[in-house]
């Protein structure tokens, strides 16, 4: 009785299991401002959902979770709309560009290889950097000394860019070009890797845009919301791969989870959040690396998925 049939996926699933998965990913989404596609899609594939349908239905679910999470963070004053919209414009441009890049890569052959290696290296680098940096920050805070704010080369460089403007919520002054260009960059990567890109976007906001961690989480969710609305409609329209029943059960779990996640996020300090996210990024990296190194159980696979 706890089973529901999924008409698009063509399989049945246990409601409680899917609800629980949704809840878990929703919590992560609310805490860290990531969509959680990296986690959800493989889990869905594991329980017998075809890869393309798992990925598309997951974006449908993320729409719900990020609506819920964005609202919760908005009420805490954690969403920088100006920054979010600029990143989004860049993201859409980058996504379109990324689709073309992947076509070229496919023609050259070895596309999968390049993508996976880039992914592992990037997650490894970003995760380790974030981990070490926030660990040091946590240690330094224990000793009550003020560190002189030196202007790094990077800060000097981005200070020279034209069209400087204030981002009030984030408390930074930057060139409009920065979020546009970085948004494009993340958009390209996300399109190539077939993921939402929250995992790359969050570190980009923290380290390259110098935004405070809590604002990063809220703004990232705001941005993810629009990306996934677009993906859901496009996938439904051109590939018929969104299973609404699956998305709905996931949604009920994840929208609830996102609310709790946002509350947990509020209780954590910026550096604690960073170190947790860094650990999560590293776990994903290790998982991907193991997938590459361990001999697969079956030497053939279905098309699609991450």
């Amino acid at each position: 009785m706890f089973h529901l049939y999924l008409p698009i996926a063509g399989n049945s699933v246990n409601i409680l299991l899917i609800f629980g998965l949704g809840g878990l990913v929703g919590i992560l989404s609310g805490i860290f401002g990531v969509g959680g596609g990296f986690l959800m899609t493989p889990l869905l594939i594991m329980i017998g959902i075809p890869p393309t349908i798992a990925a598309a239905s997951d974006s449908n679910q993320i729409v719900g979770a990020s609506t819920s999470g964005t609202l919760a963070h908005y009420k805490m004053g954690n969403v920088d709309f100006k920054m979010g919209i600029l990143l989004l414009i860049g993201g859409v441009a980058g996504g379109t560009l990324g689709v073309q890049v992947i076509k070229v890569l496919r023609q050259m052959g070895n596309a999968d290889f390049l993508i996976k290696i880039t992914y592992v290296l990037m997650l490894g680098f970003v995760g380790s950097y974030m981990f070490i940096e926030s660990l040091q920050a946590l240690r330094i805070k224990e000793v009550p000394t003020t560190i002189p704010q030196k202007k790094s080369k990077y800060a000097q460089l981005i200070g020279k860019l034209p069209w400087q403007t204030d981002f009030i919520k984030s408390g930074v002054r930057l060139s409009v070009l920065m979020p546009l260009v970085l948004g494009t960059f993340v958009g390209i990567l996300a399109a190539i890797m077939g993921v939402g890109g929250g995992f790359i976007m969050v570190p980009v906001m923290v380290y390259l845009l110098r935004m405070p961690m809590h604002v990063v989480v809220g703004t990232s969710l705001f941005q993810i919301l629009f990306t996934c609305v677009n993906v859901t409609i496009m996938q439904s329209y051109s590939n018929h791969t969104v299973d609404f029943i699956l998305a709905l059960i996931l949604l009920l779990g994840s929208t609830l989870g996102a609310q709790f996640g946002a509350k947990i996020s509020k209780k954590l300090k910026g550096d604690q959040l960073k170190i947790l996210l860094a650990s999560l990024v590293l776990v994903v990296m290790v998982k991907m690396l193991l997938d590459l190194l361990l001999t697969p159980h079956i030497m053939l696979g279905l098309k699609g998925g991450h």
Partner: protein, 264 residues
Amino acid sequence: MIRNRIWIPIIILVASFMWHPQPAGSTESVTTKHEPNLIAIGAFFNGTQLTVSGKVAAENEVVVIVKGKQEELTLKKKGKALGLLWMNLGSVHFKNVPNLYLLYSSKGIMELAASESKTWEQLGIGFESLKKQIEIEAPQAERNDLIQEFLKLKQSQKLYASHPGEISFGQKTDTEKSFNAAVWIPPQIPLGEYQVQVMEIHNGIIVGNSMDQLKVKEQGIPFMISSLAFNHSLLYGFLAVLIAVAAGLVMDFFFGTGKGGGAH
């Protein structure tokens, strides 16, 4: 030279008719029935049981095969890049593969398969015969491995299954006995039409054969959702987004107010 080559298949064809162990005319129709004839997939469908039953001669064995339509399939092939990293390297195209293949047989058949493998092969039953029938565009050296992996994949998807010895016999008279096969139809079954084939086997020869149809279709909520998704896909996409946003708003309304309200 060319003329000789044309003759070869004709000779083989004629010979095969002459040497066929059992002339086609002598197989009789087996009296069988299966229930249900139509599998309707509703909202709570989680696989179902198909009962195939009937009567055969007292000393004979029975094989039941539920088989789907032949299709073509392209799958990704995994391989090692740089001799170290496993990933998808190219794709393989499979032809002539049934989308479902469920095999049930009575115990005596297993003994036949074990002791007289040649006779067993001639019957054209089971995964071994499927292997011969499947066509792939791949070098001969890789063929066997690829087909083996293909069967593994289909079995992991529950769409191919072999249940030797799982047909039970009931009432037995001097001449007849009844058989019963409980065929498990997995929830992964694609919509469409299937053949339920029952074969009566005597000393490695098919003496009786019956073929029947089984239909699988959606009804109720799954049917409505599928029709919307395929016939009005843009509307479906917008609705999916709207409902997701609404779910987010409702959850925020019930669980999000109070604590976080308006504060910076």
